[in-house]
């Protein structure tokens, strides 16, 4: 798999990261280096090997259906650049 400049630009856009056009060739090159490194894993034969999801025998922790959180409108909004009447206020987004 090889990443060209337009793919790099698309990935940057989907991730909402601003990349200047002149930086794209280098970025695509870095992507390719990373992917090339990971592709080495394809050489390993994993037939019949169960996927390992944890190095220790852990299981997913579960929680009871009890409300113990919330009621902190001011704290939730405290980092917002703009908040009005209890809402986050953002530039208009409408479909």
């Amino acid at each position: 798999m090889s990443i060209d400049e337009s793919t790099a630009a698309r990935v940057a856009k989907l991730a909402r990261i601003k990349v200047e056009p002149e930086a794209l060739p280098a970025l695509a090159g870095e992507f390719n280096t990373i992917l090339g490194f990971i592709e080495q894993l394809n050489e390993v034969d994993i037939d019949g090997v169960e996927p390992m999801t944890s190095v220790t025998p852990q299981v997913l922790k579960k929680r009871a259906d009890v409300v113990t959180d919330g009621d902190q409108q001011a704290r939730v909004l405290s980092n917002a650049p703009d908040a009005r009447e209890g809402f986050f206020a953002v530039p208009k987004v409408v479909e």
């Binding site: 409300v67 959180d69 009005r84 009447e85 953002v90 208009k92 987004v93």
Partner: protein, 503 residues
């Protein structure tokens, strides 16, 4: 249990300008899980709270916050799967679906793309005309709901409320087995009914607790059968997905108008683009959601914050053992135990409250009579007042009392309706009301005979006519009923009138 059998309905056919077309529809229904807390946080799911008050730092996606799964939401998804006769996957996993939107603070939705918790199931969709469609369910997965954006509070800003962010949703994905707008609405209705029976979703479409994405394509007659035989989608047309529908009426209208749009394109020599569309009820048209297309690359990957979800078969069996009686079984039982018609049984099993009310009235009484009174008199009266069964001023015991008085011949059917109205508006014990207000039916033949004699004596002309034409005897019956204030036993009156007239 009586097995209900139905014929398969005919698919809807729309005549284009040149040829006939059939519809193929699949639905993705998002049903909000009934739970106290959210899927991965301990904030409340309550609807209608102050904006951003039911928000934990997990929901707000503050750095370093980690999700912990709500076991009850998992149980609800399993219960739903069992209710749809579906396979339960003892091992499932969560993935991240990445996209940017102001009401999605994480920048991704936690969902289950690769390993959903529930596999294949089915829904029997009765269409009310003796036919029913068996719609296959492909899968159900658990995922997080997004927040809510409000666009009409300010001309330049959108306001975001994260109360709904992170509430558990079940996405119930059907196979493309639905063949018309009415079937689509009926499918959603049946799904809603089952979920409400199970208590896994309140089914409230207005508050958005249930909403559907509808995939619509068209095909020439015969093509669908080829798809069925091979499961090869190339026999079907290109589908468009109509997003976020939360009204049965709009779903039907949207499918119809979208199918006609596609027919016009294909008959005009064009091809349908696979895309996401939005239905505009004001203009009754669908339009492309271009922004959605651009973001369609969701770059799913397994969520590294969450280990796979493992559940035990014994736990699933325990949930299965505690499943309530479901609509199909209840309906079949009402038909076989109470001798009800398919229609009456459907009406009475539409929701648990109605079914419970009916069963309380019917216990130890004639089932058909109980059904008639509940459906025709009680439901009719409640509808007039815009009330639901849970607001009924008449209890099952009171309605049962009215029916008992008819069954024992204490009152006539006509008086029973008056009695019902009194009980409905004033309350009280039906038997006591009848006693206190002298509403008892006159079965004393002597008294009725006297009334008959009096009317015959007073109307010699009518008597002469009635002797020539026995059909006119009805007039005398009516007069006697009037003279006795409706309390005479109609059967006795009939007998006496015909005997006296032929004397």
């Amino acid at each position: 249990m009586l097995d209900l059998t139905y014929d398969t309905p005919k698919p809807k056919v729309i005549a284009g300008a040149r040829e006939d077309w059939e519809l193929v529809i699949g639905m993705e229904v998002h049903a909000q899980v009934s739970s106290n807390a959210k899927l991965f946080s301990a904030a409340s799911t309550k609807f209608g709270a102050e904006p951003n008050s039911n928000v934990s730092f997990v929901d707000a996606a503050m750095p370093g916050m980690l999700p912990t799964i709500n076991e009850y939401c998992v149980e609800q998804a399993v219960r739903t799967g069992l209710g749809l006769k579906a396979d339960i996957n003892l091992s499932s996993a969560f993935d991240r679906k990445n996209y940017f939107y102001p009401d999605l603070p994480q920048g991704y939705q936690i969902s289950q793309l690769y390993h959903p918790i529930v596999g294949e199931g089915e829904v029997l969709v009765e269409l009310g005309d003796g036919t029913a469609r068996l719609v296959r369910v492909e899968r159900i997965h658990l995922e997080q709901d997004a927040g809510k954006s409000i666009h009409d509070m300010d001309p330049n800003m959108s306001f975001v409320d994260l109360n709904r962010t992170g509430v558990a949703l079940m996405e119930i994905v059907s196979r493309p087995d639905i063949r018309g707008p009415e079937e689509a609405a009926a499918y959603l209705g049946k799904l809603r009914q089952i979920l409400r029976y199970l208590g896994t979703c309140n089914g409230d479409m207005q508050s958005g607790a249930m909403r559907a994405d509808v995939n619509v394509s068209i095909c020439r007659p015969g093509q669908y059968e080829k798809y069925q035989a091979t499961q090869d989608f190339s026999h079907l047309g290109t589908r468009c997905e109509i997003k976020n529908m939360n009204s049965m009426r709009f779903i039907q209208a949207a499918i119809e108008v979208e199918a006609r749009r596609q027919i016009a394109i294909v008959e005009g020599g064009g091809t349908v683009d696979q895309e996401t569309r939005l239905y505009d009820p004001d203009k009754n048209e669908t339009r492309s959601m271009r922004s959605k297309e651009e973001a369609h690359d969701y770059r799913y990957f397994p969520d590294p914050d969450l280990l796979p979800l493992q559940i035990e078969q014994a736990w699933v069996d325990d949930i299965a053992a505690r499943l309530p009686e479901l609509p199909d079984a209840k309906k079949a039982r009402f038909i076989s135990d109470f001798g009800l018609s398919d229609y009456d049984a459907s009406v009475l099993t539409a929701d648990l409250d109605s079914a419970g009310y009916f069963e309380a009235v019917a216990a130890g009484r004639d089932g058909k009579m109980a059904a008639n009174w509940v459906i025709n008199e009680l439901f009719g009266r409640l509808k007039k007042d815009d009330k639901g069964i849970t607001d009924s001023p008449v209890s099952p015991a009171q309605l049962g009392g009215v029916i008992d008085l008819i069954a024992s011949d204490a009152i006539s059917g006509k008086i029973a309706k008056e009695l019902f109205e009194i009980v409905y508006t004033e309350g009280g014990d039906p038997a006591e009301i009848v006693e206190a207000r002298g509403m008892k039916q006159v079965t004393d033949t002597g008294a009725i005979e006297a009334a008959v004699d009096e009317i015959i004596a007073a109307n010699p002309d009518q008597v002469a006519k009635a002797r020539e034409n026995p059909k006119l005897a009805g007039w005398f019956v009516g007069q006697v009923m009037k003279a006795t204030g409706g309390k005479a036993n109609p059967k006795t009156v009939n007998q006496l009138v015909s005997r006296k007239l032929s004397e």
